[in-house]
């Protein structure tokens, strides 16, 4: 069973190579092959889900092989409930990104397909790797194909956006590399064992200030990816200029790698420093929620609007993570999944709209519900979900986050709730301007075809499932949450003991 984790990474990678080598000039075959590979990947992920035991403590699957023994670097993969759900999300969104780009990508389909598979391999690696260097390798590996995806298939200002995306994320991740190395040597000096093994490094005894600096190195990398308020400015550009598939992967998956990093590495590796840092991080989360929401209010470009709404939603996730209790962590994890599904669907719909109207400006759309009822209904569903409508996916997450945060600080919870209100305003306004009102004169509107409808239907089912019956997902998230909460308890009791 265990080696299937490696298959999750190497199947898309070999698929990418195969497509580039064998079908680099055959669009039809490349399309079929890329769909085949991504669906096979999805089936493997579903299989792992089927055989996984939600009640098990910690890691359901672990792969361990030696890689560079002299430096203590291993090929160490592990899957717990959190990575399982994120792997499922990845495996689902990649075929969706492929189907969405079926006709909208006009040239070099095979290369495009290969890049998508390479990104998939990188993201899978990020969600599975438990050796810090291996994690860093995958973290960088998903950057390059994404850069080319934006830089070569994007819209008008694609190069600017691609550079900005790359340089922001790269600077952050290099700081993380220094932190990884610092942790490695401190652990090595203390124990005599030089290793990048996550499990071994978990209980490293860090001197006060050093620990804080190392934690900030990790936080910098994840904060850029999420993105947290002062380092967010790459995101609206990247989302807006990327092709639809790129936006789906960025919003649905790449942002999630940042929050995943916080949960998997930042908190467990540096519990004391993270606890000390938590109020600042929560404040940054609040600023992100409000800032994203207010900027979304004034956007004309529909993709930019959704991009700013992502900053706002991810603010909730950061808030929930650093509130650090049962409800808020559950909420943050569910919101990660919900945002991934909802926002991907919205970007997909915007992509379909753009294919038909060649514009993303709200001022040039309007009255589209009449000529395109199916598209309009679908957009309504996902807009309501993004607003936090009860019964739909985001509501569960946002509600749990706010319930958890309220226990820590009522004022933070109220500020967060303001963000939801603002969200309702800009999302409804967006819907009104695009779908209702005067009928646009363009006579060539055609409604969703079968391919587009089925893509959106899958996502719609997920949104309803997450909203109405999140229990199966929460089961998987129980043990990762418990581990993180236990850290909090240990640190707090440790501090109390010290003060007595």
């Amino acid at each position: 069973m265990m080696y299937w984790l490696s298959v999750l990474i190497f199947l898309p990678l070999s698929g990418a190579l195969l497509i580039v080598l064998a079908w680099h000039s055959n669009v039809v075959m490349a399309r079929r092959a890329v769909l085949l590979f991504s669906v096979a990947e999805l089936l493997i992920a579903l299989g792992l889900w089927w055989f996984a035991d939600p009640g098990s403590d910690g890691y359901m699957y672990i792969v361990r092989a030696s890689w560079i023994p002299s430096m203590g670097i291993q090929f160490l993969l592990g899957m717990d409930g959190l990575s399982l759900l994120l792997v499922l999300l990845t495996a689902l969104l990649i075929p969706i990104a492929i189907l969405v780009s079926w006709h909208s990508v006009k040239y070099h389909w095979p290369v495009f397909a290969a890049l998508l598979l390479a990104i998939e391999a990188g993201i899978m690696g990020v969600f599975l790797a438990l050796d810090l260097i291996l994690f860093y390798v995958f973290w960088e590996l998903m950057l390059v194909p994404m850069y080319f995806l934006i830089g070569l298939w994007g819209h008008e200002r694609r190069l600017y956006a691609a550079y900005k995306f790359f340089l922001f994320t790269l600077t952050g991740s290099l700081l993380m590399l220094v932190s990884i190395l610092g942790l490695y040597f401190i652990h090595g000096e203390q124990t005599g064992i030089y290793t990048f093994d996550y499990f071994a490094l978990l209980h490293t005894d860090l001197p006060d200030t050093t620990g804080m600096w190392l934690m900030l190195g990790f936080f910098a990398a994840f904060a850029v990816k999420i993105p947290v308020f002062p380092v967010h400015s790459w995101l609206p550009d990247a989302h807006t200029e990327a092709p639809t598939a790129g936006s789906i992967i960025l919003a649905g998956l790449l942002l999630k790698t940042g929050t995943y990093g916080l949960l998997r590495f930042c908190l467990p590796l540096f519990p004391e420093d993270s606890l000390e840092f938590a109020p600042f991080a929560m404040a940054l989360g609040i600023v992100g929620i409000l800032y994203g929401a207010f900027l979304a209010l004034v956007q004309e470009d529909i993709k930019r609007l959704i991009a700013y709404s992502s900053i706002s939603h991810l603010g909730f996730v950061v808030l929930g993570i650093y509130a650090w209790n049962q409800e808020s962590l559950h909420g943050a994890m569910i919101l990660i999944l919900a945002h991934g599904v909802t926002t991907s669907a919205m970007f997909a719909i915007v992509g379909m709209l753009e294919e038909r109207s060649h514009t993303r400006l709200l001022s040039r759309l309007g009255g589209l519900l009449l000529p395109m009822p199916r598209l309009g209904t679908m957009l309504l569903l996902f807009t309501l979900s993004a607003m936090g409508m009860p019964g739909l996916a985001n509501f569960v997450g946002e509600f749990l986050v706010l319930a958890g945060v309220y226990q820590i600080s009522a004022s933070f919870a109220i500020a967060g709730a303001m963000g939801i209100v603002a969200g309702a305003i800009y999302l409804l306004w967006m819907y009104q301007r695009a779908m209702l009102g005067e009928v646009n004169e363009n006579p060539a509107w055609r409604d969703l075809d079968l391919r587009e409808l089925s893509v959106l239907a899958i996502l719609a089912i997920l949104v309803l499932w997450l909203g109405l019956y999140p229990a199966p997902f929460l089961d998987y998230l129980q043990s990762p949450t418990d581990i993180i909460i236990e850290l909090n308890t240990v640190v707090t009791t440790g501090m109390e003991d010290a003060s007595h």
């Binding site: 002299s70 430096m71 590996l141 691609a162």
Partner: protein, 467 residues
């Protein structure tokens, strides 16, 4: 002289006689084609490589030459480099007609110089190696005198090599004054307390700094990178620098550890200024050869980050980085040479617009080489940076590590810039028929890039087993 000495001297003898043989082919009454000459050269280099595998290591000859795994690895690298350079020159449109016995024998002689320099155990031996290495390069740089700046470049290089040699000799004399010996192992055992050893080594470092284009001795490098024919640039941008680095590591890290520790602050400063100067000057550069010249300066800076750590990891990092550095630059310049037009190289970045799409293999190779230079996994460039930054962190040089990291981020900008132009749409379809690339060039480019990726995934092949 024993039989084992003779076996170990094999590669040097093969290279020396090989050079004379190739030269001798010119006086045969019958005309020998350029292809045949190149084939003979490559066979000699392959024989030399095979001869290194027969080495008995570790072994030393009269305190002059030392044979260990380090020298074997890098002598092999220089031979591989020379083979690639020969193939590139054979198909390089401008040297094609000019490449005769002299050119090829000069390549063999300069390789001999590198091999001697890498394995020398004695300062005078090292000086001899350095000169055998340098003198053929003067001629090779100015090989096409009608090209713009060619003569100027050759003379510049000769003058600088002269100054570098003067510094090197001055350092040698001071070292001799200090300990009465020129054997670097003996030097290490009889260090006096005063400043003399450190001054001597600093002068040697200056001498080698000219060859490495270390800031502040870097002024020559962009001009000469641009002036020389691309295959020659590939030669002195890759293996020559690796050879100099290896002698520096042998001198400083393997034999004179006390001096190494005394010089750490100096190395620290050199690392910082080289990184910043190289990267910032490269940032706005529009000429690809000059850009790569500045990026090389920055890479020497990264290697000095490792050397400034002063620990065994730093030494291993510097060794690994030297190897990776040679391969990455060889890869990048090989593509530049392969894409050259008749009569001149493509100079500005704009000249390369869309070529990655026209020539997919060269495009992917360029991407691998540049991303390796940028330090992206899973290439050798990443492991090299990992080891280098790791050694700095181990030595407690957090600030240096962060400066290096910031520089790496800056460098990404211009490497990506090249790649984007490489893969961008052509401005207009020129309707030219795309000439098929010669197989030899393709094979050598693919081999280099497989090494870059292979050593990135399996760095253990290199990093284990050095003293």
């Amino acid at each position: 002289m024993q039989a084992i000495d003779l076996i170990n001297l094999g590669p040097f003898i093969i290279l020396g006689f090989g050079g004379i043989t190739v030269l001798g082919l010119g006086i045969l009454p019958a005309h020998v084609s350029t292809r045949t000459l190149a084939a003979v050269t490559i066979i000699i280099l392959i024989l030399g490589t095979v001869a290194t595998t027969l080495w008995k290591v570790p072994h030393e000859i009269d305190g002059m030459l030392v044979f260990d795994r380090l020298s074997r690895l890098f002598v092999q690298l220089c031979m591989l480099g020379a083979i690639v350079i020969t193939i590139l020159s054979l198909y390089y449109p401008t040297t094609q007609k000019e490449m005769r016995e002299e050119y090829l024998s000069l390549i063999l002689f300069t390789t001999l110089g590198m091999a001697l320099f890498i394995s020398s155990q004695n300062l005078v031996m090292a000086f001899v190696g350095l000169e055998i290495l340098s003198v053929p390069l003067f001629a090779l740089i100015a090989w096409l005198p009608k090209q713009q700046h060619a003569i100027e470049g050759g003379i510049k290089y000769a003058m600088l090599a002269g100054i570098a040699a003067a510094f090197f000799l001055y350092g040698t004399t001071l070292a001799y004054v200090n300990s009465g010996s020129l054997n670097i192992a003996a030097l290490g055992q009889s260090l006096s307390d005063g400043h003399l050893p450190a001054i001597a080594v600093t002068l040697l470092l200056v001498g080698m700094g000219f060859k490495l284009a270390l800031v502040p001795f870097h002024m020559w490098s962009p001009d000469i990178y641009q002036a020389a024919p691309a295959p020659v640039t590939a030669l002195f941008a890759s293996t020559v620098k690796a050879a100099v680095l290896i002698f520096l590591i042998r001198l400083l890290c393997l034999n004179l550890q006390p001096v190494w520790e005394a010089l750490l602050p100096l190395l620290w400063i050199l690392a910082v200024i080289s990184m910043f100067a190289g990267n910032l000057l490269a940032l706005l550069q529009q000429n690809i050869k000059r850009l790569l010249a500045y990026s090389s300066i920055a890479h020497i800076g990264y290697i000095f980050v490792a050397l400034a750590a002063g620990n065994s990891l730093g030494r291993d990092a510097a060794i690994y980085y030297s190897l990776a550095y040679a391969l990455m630059n060889l890869g990048a310049f090989a593509v530049v040479a392969a894409l050259a037009l008749t009569g001149k190289d493509r100079q500005t970045l704009e000249d390369y617009r869309g070529l990655g799409r026209q020539y997919p293999i060269l495009g992917i190779s360029m991407a691998i080489s540049l991303l390796a230079l940028a330090g992206l996994p899973p290439t050798a460039g990443f492991v090299a940076k990992l080891l280098a930054f790791g050694s700095a962190v181990e030595a407690g040089h957090f600030i240096l590590a962060i400066i290096a990291v910031i520089n790496t981020a800056i460098a990404f900008y211009y490497y990506l810039h090249i790649l984007v132009i490489f893969f961008a749409e052509e401005k207009e379809k020129t309707g030219q028929i795309i000439a098929p690339l010669p197989k030899g060039t393709l094979v050598s480019v693919i081999v280099i890039n497989s090494f870059i990726i292979g050593l990135g995934i399996f760095p253990e092949l290199i990093t284990t087993g050095f003293p």
